[in-house]
């Protein structure tokens, strides 16, 4: 008997969500990191206005580093708990990868939906192009989820897992990170260059396909 890829993804996503909601460490770490950073930046600025470019960079630095606090755990938690073997024996590679990627994307999207309105409020920031901001957040979090899931799988078992994850993540995610800042600057009142959205979408797709191709080698590595 074989499970369809969609059913497999649904099962992995459902398991991640159930386990994540019952043990909220990853959620709490991400949300508390984002809130603490936002509070620090907001207090440091003391209500002073900032350039849209600086505001956009701040928002993405908060989202990126908050995601580092939770997204790197998708495989490390399985390894620590000893459940990775069961998943490797029973789980089809692509369903595991894409299910975990979808869950990370969902987690980051929830984080972004939670933190962005607070950021706008605390930083007294006006959004002139809300659809561009929404599209940028969608594609930006997708990119972080795709790269994060693959790199989390690559670094699982490494003795300096967290450090290695952040170091490897930065160069891979720069092609998403930089256009996301440019587009968010546009959404905060600067010039909007919509071609960046297309570029981000293509890079996200390449990341997802690349992760899918590489993951089989990792999954069946003996």
């Amino acid at each position: 008997m074989h499970v369809s890829i969609f059913q497999g993804i649904k099962l992995v996503f459902g398991k991640e969500l159930t386990a994540g909601l019952r043990f909220r460490a990853a959620w709490a770490a991400m949300f508390m990191f984002a809130l603490t950073t936002l509070a620090c930046v907001s207090m440091a600025m003391q209500g002073g206005g900032l350039d849209p470019r600086l505001l956009a960079a701040l928002l993405w630095v908060i989202l990126f580093f908050a995601s580092m606090a939770g997204a790197d755990r998708v495989f490390a938690d399985e390894d620590t708990a000893g459940t990775l073997l069961a998943l490797q024996v029973y789980g089809p590679a692509q369903a595991v990868l894409l299910g975990k990627m979808l869950y990370t994307f969902f987690l980051l999207l929830v984080l972004a939906v939670f933190i962005t309105p607070l950021f706008l409020m605390f930083m007294d920031c006006t959004v002139t192009a809300p659809l561009v901001l929404a599209g940028t957040i969608f594609l930006g979090t997708w990119g972080i989820a795709a790269a994060g899931t693959l790199i989390a799988a690559l670094t699982t078992g490494a003795s300096i897992h967290s450090g290695l994850f952040s170091i490897l993540m930065l160069p891979v995610i720069l092609p998403v990170f930089l256009p996301a800042i440019f587009l968010t600057t546009g959404a905060f009142g600067g010039d909007v260059q919509l071609s960046y959205l297309g570029g981000m979408g293509i890079y996200d797709l390449i990341l997802t396909l690349g992760a899918s191709v590489l993951f089989d080698y990792l999954w069946f590595e003996e």
Partner: protein, 209 residues
């Protein structure tokens, strides 16, 4: 019919020899036990048989008739009861089985779940709302056996499955292994229990280097 062949297999860890050269053939429909003192490489041999580890030298090849089974094709035929296999501690027994078996395309209905628990000696009312993290070691061992039985896998790798089980539990493992072999499963079993060894059709003894 599935076979797993070991040809000239030598295993070392960080230059330390474990065993080899080994030439063996495991066949479906029989129980093959591997025995040897602690550190002789019984668990390592099981991992090699399950393609979860590559040998330092030589080849381990699984075949179904003339077709070589590799990667996903082999893994979909594999089930284990080993100390390294763990369940999700914050999911219940039902949730764990539904998830793992679901990934193999097996749907676990209420009746089948109840029958499975009864078969491995777990009481449904005791574990219905309990996370597996709260199970005793023996209960977890029985649940691993339940996953293996329900998986429909053709290759069973058992690494001291009687460990942490009471006398009835060890009897259950023996009975299920015999039944599995009779159903055409390839049962490869690491043990040092003379009774389990006596129930086997073939035996491989590993001596420590």
């Amino acid at each position: 019919m599935i076979t797993i062949g070991f040809t000239g297999v030598v295993q070392t860890f960080h230059g330390r020899p474990i065993f080899g050269p080994l030439n063996e053939r495991l066949t479906a429909g029989q129980i093959t036990v591997v025995t040897g003192e602690n550190g002789s490489g019984k668990s390592t041999m099981l991992k090699l048989a399950g393609q979860l580890l590559s040998p330092t030298e030589g080849k381990v090849i699984a075949r179904d008739g003339d077709h070589e089974l590799v990667q996903a094709a082999f893994r979909s035929q594999l089930a284990l009861v080993t100390p390294e296999l763990k369940f999700y501690s914050r999911l219940t027994a039902r949730e764990n089985l539904q998830f793992l078996l679901g990934l193999r395309g097996i749907e676990l209905k209420d009746d089948a779940f109840s029958a499975l628990l009864e078969r491995v000696g777990l009481r449904e009312k005791d574990i219905r709302q309990t996370y597996t993290g709260e199970f005793s070691t023996g209960m977890r061992q029985r649940l691993k056996l339940a996953a293996l039985l329900a998986s429909g896998a053709a290759v069973w790798l058992l690494d001291e499955p009687g460990a942490n089980l009471d006398a009835a539990g060890r009897e259950l493992v023996l009975r299920e292994a015999r039944r599995g072999a009779a159903d055409g499963k390839l049962v490869f079993w690491a043990t040092n229990d003379s009774r389990e060894e006596g129930a086997a059709d073939a035996c491989i003894h590993l001596s420590r280097h």
